[in-house]
Symmetry: C2
Subunit: 341 residues, 2 copies
Amino acid sequence: MLIIDCHGHYTTAPAAHQKFREQQLAWMEDPTLPVPRPAQISDDAIRESIETNQLRLQQARGADLTLFSPRASAMGHHQGNEAVSLAWARACNDLIKRVVDLYPENFVGVCQLPQSPGVPIAHSVGELERCVRELGFVGCNLNPDPSGGHWNSPPLTDRHWYPFYEKMVELDVPAMVHVSASCNPNFHATGAHYINADTTAFMQFIEGDLFRDFPTLRIVIPHGGGAVPYHWGRYRGLADMLKRPPLATHLMRNVYFDTCVYHQPGIDLLARVIDLDNILFGSEMLGAVRCVDPETGQYFDDTKRYIDALSISAGDKRRIYELNARRVYPRLDALLRARGL
Amino acid sequence: MLIIDCHGHYTTAPAAHQKFREQQLAWMEDPTLPVPRPAQISDDAIRESIETNQLRLQQARGADLTLFSPRASAMGHHQGNEAVSLAWARACNDLIKRVVDLYPENFVGVCQLPQSPGVPIAHSVGELERCVRELGFVGCNLNPDPSGGHWNSPPLTDRHWYPFYEKMVELDVPAMVHVSASCNPNFHATGAHYINADTTAFMQFIEGDLFRDFPTLRIVIPHGGGAVPYHWGRYRGLADMLKRPPLATHLMRNVYFDTCVYHQPGIDLLARVIDLDNILFGSEMLGAVRCVDPETGQYFDDTKRYIDALSISAGDKRRIYELNARRVYPRLDALLRARGL
């Protein structure tokens, strides 16, 4: 059995990369500054940043492979403009590609998109295509709120988003719904904005007919689906009140939840309520919560421990750890098959 | 043991009441129209609206008493202006008072506030005081986002809100954090906006120091605390990462969750994760989800069934059903004691 972590971010990229971002934003303020260029980063710097962090923990915790994307909170779609967002997304994705090339058995790429408030999502299609066709990435992170907490884009079920979904279907890649930092002081990024976005996206899908229009579109909602599994009765009831089909057919052939829920009772609920075919192992490592749980003595985000502790069969665990990810990310499956896995 | 439902709304008010609201909003559009006056509603009309709905279900489901407030989704703080909001809040609260006077053993009042975007919360103090001192209400619903989904007020921990908290402390009444309808198409009201607001408020409390400044302030977060209990590990970890005190001392002497979680696994998680002293029975009846769960054959919002099914002692159930509510709402306790209860 392979252990595939569907949700990892390069939160530890060398400082020069973040410095490029700061130069970008400074240049936005003062265009007389030289146009910033992506940082020159050595293989050794990348190796150190990975081997002391994500790779070390991946191996220590017993995972085989991480679907690896740029740091979500740093996507910062609300900052800069479309050109800045594109340059930043390309630099971030290129860095992911270098990690993958250095550790092809441990990391597979998932891309950031060059979204920008008010810019048609069709303008993100090119970078998706580049990352999938040229860099070999297997999925993308789609931000439902590029404003960073003002929520002034149309819902994900609006035709606004359709050009992007068409390309996802054509390339056969899923999207993880993932917001970035919040510039709204009401919303702490990882404690409110992320979770709210997950909940919001799911309810939008209930209200809409997205998967009637795109029956093969696949969406991963991270952080255990936000509030959804805990309120599963509410969502089943709302679907009924809104005269929608049952969730099992209306959404759950297309929507998946990861396991980024940082305590045993939460994972127990997830596995009790949600069909195991819709759950993908994920840790968000290194991400929102990097400390040790004093109640268990283990890291909060060592989510594999919680899944290992579930009272389900080895076959069911394999669905969560491997088989669902291979089904949701067919390009990952193809890549593994080519390696005889 | 008394069964006290801390979360009920007058969602079935006679149509004339809603017509007054429509007249208000029409008058905002066209001030040449006559100034609308609150509807004249007969006792019989109120009796019918209550006896066929909330009272019938309260009795059928075995609750004794409901903390009863105006329909939350109709508060509509984002509509009209301050004067309109005040007239509407007064009319809504006066109607609650009439229900309470007709059924004093079954309903106790909780008030709506005349909030309006950009208006200082101090302007809501008068209506709180009127409802508590003159009408005998025991709590209030405080809207953290009077914009209806644009989230442009300061966080609940900001000093903006302090004049209101000072009055709450003086009157010794708690607030339930409760948003109203959403005018943001991203957020379905009961499926996203409500739950997001609950999650958001809790995370604001983690970030802030509200209960250091108001050690006796009490806040009820409805809908089972939004996403919080499901992500309890995340919140414990975030508190640690943000160098905040442990949640037990930082928040949980002041913050309470209701049981408006519409399936057994959700209530099981709530009771497993959250100290039972912080859980108050609530149903939100008649509220967000009014249909029967085909999986159980029972109404989704008959939350008493889920609590009855918990594997906890009768004494623990009494905390959830009665004792916590009496502690959080001292004016309710005083009222019950005066009746020998």
